[in-house]
């Protein structure tokens, strides 16, 4: 038997597969959470003002939502299957502790799928007001789904709500598990991230079109509405991120040490930007004296735990990945904040977006940047938790499915998702081009555009 001859339990392949499929799915999940809000807002404004530009925008975004939601729904299902196929050791024991939020998320996902069907296919069948109302559950349930799923990840970082007796699970409080210490900061951080990815991501599409010369009202609004949403959320996200980092300092000191490349426990620790960690030291970093102590403990002389506080076997092995991902996320977060401030300043001064093409260029890259920041954040938290799958409770190596041949599944996933990426982008591009956007949309243009 070929497969049986392969290597036994392979945590690297399993981790790679999970990371790859999760990192892929989460981009679509972000749009699944954020895009309904954008579509509903625009449809509502279109309904109130009768503006055909807004009505056409809402329809075109809804069509993209239909595609992204479908691909997101199925790529999310793969994750549920992978939870068992890859992490049988985790799920066979701890599945019940983190099951409740998934069950509630299942209900929320049901609500999303049902109302998305009604909303998209009912666009021209339902009265406009009923139609608008039928879209609200999609947005509410989308945000709720994100909340419940992330609570399960938060539990892996700060496990709570169970009692062990001689290594046996003797009591479970599923509500305490769901509302573990990391739940608040992590869920807020992720929901904001999802909304920002949607805002900057959608705006960037229109910024590219405007750079190519399409500066009509349709493209301007197509950029301005999502960009404004992103700009409003960017400062909130920085506060939420700070809140999350302080939680890491309290509950996962080894992760914080990896995020900062801090090898030894230090009083008055500096904030290190960039650099390269090797031989147990962070080299070439830009250091802000006492910065880390101030940020993490609000006290410039506070002691910050270093990597040397845990035995080598319990330290995150890829310190550079964690540290640089964290820095990248923070840098992009401040970049997006600056972009928002630029927009706010121009709007305050002359009720218009900044006129320079550099602004459009910045918006054009902000979508990819927002996705990169979100992915970097996930890399930070997931790689920073290593070698644990459940922090200080279960190691990744003990959670993985011991069956041989798991690595073949990983290669298949990479191949399938590569094809899926290319096709999804090609179909989205085809959708934007197959029905041309009129220079000055009329009522008939909005009404004749089919959503499904």
């Amino acid at each position: 038997m070929i497969l049986a001859a392969g290597a036994a339990a392979d945590p690297v392949a399993a981790r790679s597969q999970m990371g790859f499929s999760l990192g892929w799915h989460i981009i679509l999940a972000c749009f699944g959470v954020g895009l309904p809000g954008l579509v509903l807002f625009t449809e509502w404004r279109g309904l109130r003002t009768g503006d055909p530009v807004l009505r056409l925008l809402a329809r075109r975004w809804a069509k993209a939502l239909g595609l992204l939601f479908a691909v997101g729904a199925v790529s999310g299902t793969i994750l549920s299957i992978e939870m068992g196929v890859l992490w049988s050791g985790l799920m066979s024991r701890w599945g019940q502790v983190i099951g409740l939020p998934f069950a509630i998320e299942g209900i929320a996902f049901f609500v999303e799928a049902i109302f998305l069907g009604i909303y998209l296919y009912g666009w021209d069948r339902l009265p406009p007001r009923v139609h608008l109302l039928s879209g609200i559950p999609i947005f509410v349930a989308g945000v709720a789904s994100a909340f419940f799923v992330v609570t399960a990840n938060a539990w892996m970082n700060t496990p709570a709500g169970y009692t062990l007796h001689d290594g046996r699970l003797t009591g479970v409080d599923p509500w305490a598990a769901m509302f573990n210490p990391a739940t608040g900061p992590e869920t807020v951080h992720m929901i904001l991230a999802a909304l920002m990815v949607t805002g900057f991501g959608t705006a960037s599409v229109y910024a590219v079109a405007m750079l190519r010369g399409r500066r009509d009202r349709y493209h301007r609004l197509g950029m301005l509405i999502p960009l404004t949403a992103g700009a409003i959320l960017a400062p909130l996200q920085i506060v939420a991120g700070d809140f999350a980092a302080r939680l890491v300092a309290d509950h996962q000191p080894a992760k914080l040490a990896a995020m900062e490349g801090l090898s030894r426990t230090t009083a008055g620790a500096p904030e290190s930007l960039g650099g390269w960690y090797s031989g147990g030291e962070l080299h070439y970093a830009l250091r802000i004296p006492n910065g880390l102590s101030l940020l993490a403990r609000l006290n410039p002389h506070a002691t910050i735990t270093g990597l040397n506080s845990v035995p080598p076997a319990d330290r995150p092995p890829l310190v550079n990945v964690v540290h640089l991902s964290f820095d990248l996320m923070v840098a992009i977060g401040f970049g997006l904040l600056a972009l928002g401030l630029w927009l706010a300043w121009a709007w305050w001064r002359h009720r218009d977006t900044p006129r320079t093409a550099w602004f459009l260029r910045a918006v054009a890259v902000s979508g990819v940047a927002a996705v990169a920041a979100m992915e970097a954040g996930w890399v930070t938290t997931e790689v920073g938790r290593q070698p644990w799958i459940v922090y200080r409770v279960l190691r990744v190596a003990d959670a993985v499915n011991p069956q041989p041949g798991i690595q073949y599944g990983y290669w298949a996933v990479v191949a399938i998702y590569a094809v899926l990426t290319v096709v999804t982008i090609a179909v989205l591009r085809h959708m934007t081009k197959s029905v041309a956007i009129p220079a000055a949309p009329q009522d008939a243009d909005a009404e004749s555009y089919t959503v499904t």
Binding site: L3, A4, K63, G66, F69, A70, V71, A73, V74, S75, G76, T77, I78, S80, I81, E82, M83, G84, V85, S88, G89, M91, S92, R93, W94, G95, Q96, V97, G99, L100, F102, A103, I104, G106, I107, F109, F110, V111, A113, I114, G117, I118, Y121, P137, L169, G171, V172, P174, W175, N401, Q403, P404, I406, G409, I416, L420, V427, H430, S434, T452
Partner: protein, 342 residues
């Protein structure tokens, strides 16, 4: 009834709903596959797209429900099944992703060659997904899954007579359900040609499903005598119900009572699933893991069941609205065959 049994029943309700609703969507993909060339098959494909477009995502969620219910309510069962059967489950996962995205892509493109590629991917994956899920069910039914994580054989646990037979049976049953449902949809669309085609297909698929199920009993006797014994005893009343409902569905189809035929076909499939459940009760994994042994803590089951009950209050009216909205609003019905099923 204790909580663990209640949770098992809820899990099985999820499996039943997935089979009846998503199964029909997979079956529709099967008929899409065999609908013929781009021009000849166009009306059938249009009806299929019209019928499953608004509902397939909601129907698909039952799979997630089943997975979540398994790991929440019966974590050792989930760990055992998912680890030993990782190959068919991974293949089914690929089928799920190909089916869903290809269907969404096909709606969004216009060129014939593009629609052909996506259509083929949609249709092909609609056949392999229920096959692999069926082999998983067959592996559990045949007692090939040990209770420990990853303890079974990666290949023979699902590549054996009972599992393969169950996989094939799943594909046939999906096609049968889809043809029965689509016959009714074709009548609402008022297309005589489509009514005739799908009615004929439903009758054929029903006959094949009946033969396959009968053949399956023979395979079971050889390969999984324990299950065969259970079906012949505790499961027998439901096996009989299934056979009667299956025959009744064929008669109703023949007579043109399509709505009633839908009910009968769904009843036949439901009865088979619950006959299997009864036949192996109280075991989840025959002879190895009982419902009581695999069940989660009382606190977890209670919280989950309460949340699901609350969720049902939201979901049942919502699902009803979804189905009613799109069952009523096909193209205006043409005159012709009177709808005697109503």
């Amino acid at each position: 009834m204790n909580l663990a049994n209640a949770a098992a029943a809820v899990l099985w309700i999820g499996v039943t709903a997935y089979a009846l609703f998503a199964g029909a969507d997979f079956g529709a993909g099967f008929w899409d596959l065999v609908a013929g060339g781009a021009r000849r098959g166009a009306p059938q494909r249009a009806l299929i797209e019209h019928s499953i477009g608004p509902v397939w995502e909601a129907n698909h969620v039952w799979l997630i429900f089943v997975l979540v219910m398994m790991w929440t309510g019966f974590p050792p069962l989930f760990g055992a099944v998912a680890s030993t059967l990782w190959i068919p489950l991974t293949c089914a996962a690929f089928g799920v992703i190909a089916r869903g995205s290809a269907f969404a892509f096909r709606k969004s493109v216009t060129a014939v060659w593009q629609r052909r590629i996506f259509g083929a991917a949609f249709a092909f994956s609609s056949v392999i997904t229920p096959f692999f899920l069926g082999t998983v069910a067959g592996a559990v039914a045949a007692g090939r899954v040990p209770a420990a994580v990853g303890a079974g054989n990666a290949i023979t646990s699902w590549w054996n007579p009972v599992s393969v037979m169950t996989g094939v049976l799943c594909v046939v049953v999906c096609a049968y359900l889809a043809a029965v449902y689509l016959t009714g949809d074709a009548r609402r669309a008022g297309d005589q040609d489509l009514i005739a085609r799908f009615r004929w297909r439903a009758l054929a698929a029903g006959a094949v499903a009946g033969v396959a199920a009968a053949a399956g009993i023979a395979v079971l006797h050889g390969d999984a005598p324990g299950l065969a014994h259970g079906l012949a005893n505790r499961g027998l009343p439901l096996v009989i119900v299934s056979a009667v409902a299956g025959l009744a569905a064929l008669v109703l189809l023949w007579r043109g009572w399509f709505v009633a035929a839908r009910g009968a076909a769904a009843a036949a499939v439901t009865a088979v699933l619950w006959a299997w459940a009864l036949a192996q009760y109280p075991f989840l994994l025959r002879g190895r893991l009982t419902i009581a042994a695999a069940a989660a803590q009382h606190s977890v089951l209670m919280a989950t069941l309460i949340c699901l009950a609350a969720g049902a209050v939201l979901l049942i009216p919502s699902l009803t609205w979804l189905y009613v909205l799109f069952q009523r609003s096909g193209p205006p019905p043409a005159r012709g065959v009177p709808d005697r099923g109503r």
